[in-house]
């Protein structure tokens, strides 16, 4: 039985004759040190080019919506120089303010450093690094939630419910945060973090269990769980968890439950970011270095073979959805305990949905997810400044993010655009057919 695919055709033919050493194979001793997961160049190239292409097309959108540029192009044949100048000006001010909004100005940072070392006054320095810290602040929940969706992908599950799990996690953390009073921080803070994780995990476990027990598709069920979470939070914020007063918000959490901030206000950067990096490392270990992760990956890559090998598909589905939901819950926890200190309506700003994009862009690998989350956090926080300085609506960022995702999800477009030959890339299993 031969396959019609191109590559398998001569595989056995290209293997060496019996007894002959495999050509190019390293000596046995060196081989033992070699490790499997050496990602190909394309693994990095495609997402990078996707981001680049997204920025370029985003630039075109900025141009055609810029009245000055459009006006200059009306006179293009009379004054082509003016038109091109307008193009340059528009793009430079948009992306320039995006950059400075994300990273701050290098000059200000250097001056701040000089002042600090010369005079000992940290104020200018803190002001200069404010944009960077805001980018990291925005990245923190993205890392958690992106890891959550990525873990789901590893098991072949498409968790669209990160948004709902984020909400529930935030509420869980807030509850532990304001309800427990008079507890030392080294007990209160871990409990509050755990509260968010457990709440998210339980919220994720429900669609996981439904899938395992009834075959109900997780895409449908996680979407529905989102709506339940939104309305549940509305009710909680207007009832049982409402703070005294008119606004539908929870009470402020106790100071002992706050994730410690590293600088004085207005810098909101806190320990949550480092917690996110630590959790990313932990997830990497869990997925790639443990039997638990081996099972999750096997079930995701080939559930039939996993079953043949004696793994329980249902157990892995429930476990993975719990992990996934727990990570999304941590995203909510980091936002409440680190930034907002209370939960209000419309708390999330779509972190859970962006997380899907981040997991895709990061190829579901923890390191990739961290990088993608940093990118999204940076874009998000820079966009605010771009809006105020260059007058470019913040929505342009959503367009760029959307384009990046399209290109990552359909790499054929990028390969075609940049004339890259298809490599043997790991296929990302998003989800199997309905009810599979």
């Amino acid at each position: 039985m031969e396959q019609t695919q191109a590559t398998p055709e001569l595989r056995s033919g290209s293997t060496p004759a019996p007894g002959a050493p495999a050509p190019g194979a390293p000596a046995p001793k060196a081989r033992a040190k070699q490790r499997a997961q050496v990602p190909s160049l394309q693994t990095f190239l495609i997402p990078l080019l996707a981001v680049l292409t997204g920025l370029i097309i985003g630039g075109i959108v900025i141009l055609v919506t810029d009245a000055v540029v459009v006006a200059a192009f009306r006179n293009f044949f009379r004054e082509p120089g003016e038109a091109l100048k307008a193009v340059w000006h528009s793009i430079a001010s948009a992306y320039g303010s995006l950059l400075s909004g994300s990273f701050g100005s290098p000059r200000e940072i250097i001056e701040g450093l000089q002042t600090y070392f010369a005079v000992g006054d940290p104020a200018p320095l803190l002001q200069a690094i404010y944009p960077i810290t805001e980018s990291l602040v925005a990245s923190t929940p993205y890392i958690f939630a992106g890891l959550g969706v990525a873990v789901g992908f590893k098991c072949g599950l498409f968790n669209i419910g990160a948004e709902g799990q984020f909400f529930v996690g935030a509420l869980g953390s807030a509850f532990v945060g304001y309800k427990l009073i008079g507890v030392p921080w080294f007990i209160h803070l871990p409990l509050a973090v755990l509260g968010g994780a457990v709440a998210g995990a339980l919220w994720g476990a429900i669609p996981g269990y439904l899938k395992a027990a009834t075959g109900g598709h997780e895409v449908v069920n996680t979407i529905m769980m989102n709506w339940i979470a939104f309305r549940l939070s509305d009710w909680l914020l207007n009832g049982p968890m409402k703070a005294p007063g008119y606004r539908p918000v929870t009470p402020q959490i106790e100071a002992s439950a706050e994730l410690p901030r590293l600088f004085a206000l207005p810098i909101r950067f806190n320990v949550g970011f480092f917690l996110a990096l630590a959790v990313a490392a932990l997830i990497y270990w869990l997925i790639y270095k443990t039997t638990v992760g081996y099972e999750i990956r096997a079930v995701g890559a080939n559930p039939d073979a996993a079953r043949y090998a004696g793994m329980s598909i249902t157990r892995n589905f429930v476990l993975t959805m719990m992990l996934s939901g727990g990570l999304a819950g941590l995203a909510g926890a980091s936002q409440v305990l680190g930034i907002d200190h209370w939960v209000g309506q419309g708390f999330s700003a779509g972190y859970g949905f962006d997380a899907i994009a981040i997991a895709l862009l990061g190829k579901s690998h923890p390191a990739g997810v961290v990088l993608a989350a940093l990118l999204f956090g940076t874009l998000r926080s820079g966009a605010t400044r771009m809006q105020s300085l260059a007058g470019i609506p913040i929505d342009i960022i959503s367009i760029i993010q959307g384009l990046v995702i399209v290109f990552v999800a359909a790499p054929a477009i990028i390969r075609w655009l940049f004339r890259i030959r298809a490599g043997r890339e790991e296929k990302l299993v998003l989800t199997r057919g309905w009810g599979a």
Binding site: E9, L10, A22, A32, R35, Y308
Partner: protein
């Protein structure tokens, strides 16, 4: 006379692989030209080039002396080239006529299907070539052999006179294969020319007028059957001498290891497909389950391995009833399973070779300590297994999907045979493999038997059953028709049982004298 088809200097490169290397092939009018080669020798690539699915890098094709360019399958069809694929492309819920006219519908008044016209043409073709197909039956009601004839009709209906048949006998019983050969003879007698792709030596000897052997993408030789014999062909195919006969001693059966009693099992759709099967397998013997695919063998194996619990009946391993054990419980009782569909059940294709080698033992020491995987232990054990089982792979870190079918199967065999096992369930263990790998895996199975393992071998290849089994159970429509000792069994008799003939009638039809002659031929 100009040949009907001529391929000159066809070369096709894939990244890193020379799939076809300067291949010349000439097909004369009215001949059956067998294209013989192992998997990966380049047969399918060559035919896909001829059929317009690939573009050759070099070389040219002429049909009846005219150079032609074939870019898409329609070009090939227009030149009278037709392909009968190994996997049928038929719609089961449609009639023969409807299937045949798909894509070339005859119409009346421009919009209405003219089934009668099509049916008349099908009847004419069927009569002319002795195909015996009723155009009005539904595909789902037809046996596999007849479905294949429908595929042939489809090609003839499109007025092909060069037919390419890709591994046509893979799904047929021996009798059906005989029938097919008769039809092919009748086609060539009336001027059609046939390229017959196969890796089965016996077939080419029986049917081909000429044989072209491919090896590693190049023509290794072109011979007439009269000038050669199976051993020489095998040597051409593999590039070395091949032992075609499995040498084995008589079995020394011990205690009963697997005992199956009145087993019933369901298929995917919940239909009862195994209906009351009882047998046992002893330590140190091979029980071969023969039968045409789809007679419940798959579901029998699923039931035995826990992949789909049986509907009723009892399974005992070493006297202990299985009850409702999970696949892992059964694995841990010392049952090894070489699954029928190696890519679906046997391997995680996107995992490296090393991870696939521990697929059933990853959670046990030394491969895991607590939940922490011990990579060094996994890698060194894998390297040992790869060496021991002669898996041809550059290293154990490449994805198992990059290996050839034969080497993928060796990965499974290495994994399953290296565990301490008492019962081996091997389902179609050599399907689609090349001669060299078959020889190797057969040897390993017999070695396991000689170590005292009970072996249940399920195969739809009668040759494989005859080569390995000590006792043979024939399965038909979910039941075991008969269990006979393999020694001295008559091949034709088994073929008749596989086709549903009652044992008594089959015995009468074959006769004792014929049986002995048959044994001569088989061994």
């Amino acid at each position: 006379m100009t040949p009907v088809l001529e391929l000159r200097g066809i070369t096709k490169k894939f990244p890193g692989v020379l799939a076809n290397d300067n291949i010349n092939l000439t097909l004369e009018q009215g001949e059956i030209h067998a294209l013989l080669g192992e998997n990966g020798a380049g047969k399918t690539t060559l035919m896909n080039i001829l059929y317009g699915l690939y573009k050759p890098d070099e070389g040219h094709i002429s049909v009846r002396g005219q150079p032609v360019d074939i870019h898409v399958p329609n070009d090939a069809i227009a030149r009278g080239i037709g392909m009968v694929h190994q996997h049928f492309m038929l719609v089961p819920v449609m009639t023969v006529t409807e299937n045949v006219m798909l894509g070339v519908e005859s119409t009346r008044g421009g919009a209405f299907l003219d089934r009668e016209e099509a049916a008349r043409r099908i009847e004419k073709l069927s009569e002319k070539y002795g195909l015996e197909v009723d155009p009005h039956t539904y595909i789902k009601d037809l046996p596999v052999g007849v479905q294949q004839r429908v595929e042939i009709i489809k090609v003839l209906y499109r007025q092909a006179d060069i037919l390419i048949l890709d591994e046509p006998t893979a799904v047929l019983t021996p009798q059906e294969a005989e029938e097919l050969f008769k039809i092919l003879r009748s086609l060539t007698a009336q001027g059609k020319s046939i390229i017959f792709i196969t890796h089965k030596l016996k077939e080419v000897m029986a049917i081909a007028d000429r044989i072209t052997v491919l090896r590693l993408g190049a023509v290794a030789g072109s011979v007439r059957p009269a000038e050669t014999d199976p051993a020489k062909l095998a040597a051409l195919m593999v590039g070395r001498d091949v032992n075609l006969v499995v040498s084995k001693k008589a079995a020394t059966p011990g205690d009963v290891v697997l005992q199956v009693d009145d087993l019933h099992a369901l298929d995917e759709r919940g239909n009862l497909i195994v209906r009351g099967v009882s047998f046992d397998v002893r330590a140190g013997e091979v029980l071969g389950v023969a039968g045409v695919q789809g007679n419940g063998q798959t579901e029998l194996v699923y039931a035995l391995t826990g992949l789909r619990p049986p509907a009723s009946g009892e399974i005992r391993i070493l006297g202990e009833p299985l009850g409702r054990l999970t696949p892992r419980d059964i694995l841990e009782k010392g049952v090894a399973h070489v699954p029928e569909d190696r890519q679906r059940h046997g391997l995680v294709l996107s995992f490296p070779v090393s991870d696939n080698l521990v697929l059933c033992t990853y959670y046990l020491p030394p491969f895991a300590r607590g939940i922490s995987l011990q990579e060094d232990a996994i890698i060194s054990a894998s390297q040992e297994l790869v060496k021991q089982f002669d898996v041809r792979t550059p290293n154990v870190f490449v994805d198992v999907s990059t290996l050839s079918g034969g080497n993928q199967q060796k990965v499974i065999v290495a994994r399953e045979f290296s565990r301490p096992i008492k019962l081996l369930i091997a389902s179609q263990p050599t399907r689609g493999l090349d001669v060299g790998s078959i020889e190797y895996i057969h040897g390993r199975i017999i070695a396991k038997r000689d170590e005292g393992t009970a072996v249940l071998l399920v195969s739809s290849e009668l040759d494989e059953i005859l080569a390995l089994a000590d006792r043979i159970a024939v399965m038909y429509k979910g039941q075991i028709v008969e269990i006979v000792p393999a020694a001295g069994v008559n091949r034709k008799y088994l073929g008749l049982l596989m086709a549903g003939v009652k044992p008594a009638e089959a015995g009468a039809a074959v006769g004792v004298g014929a049986a002995e002659a048959e044994i001569e031929r088989v061994f």
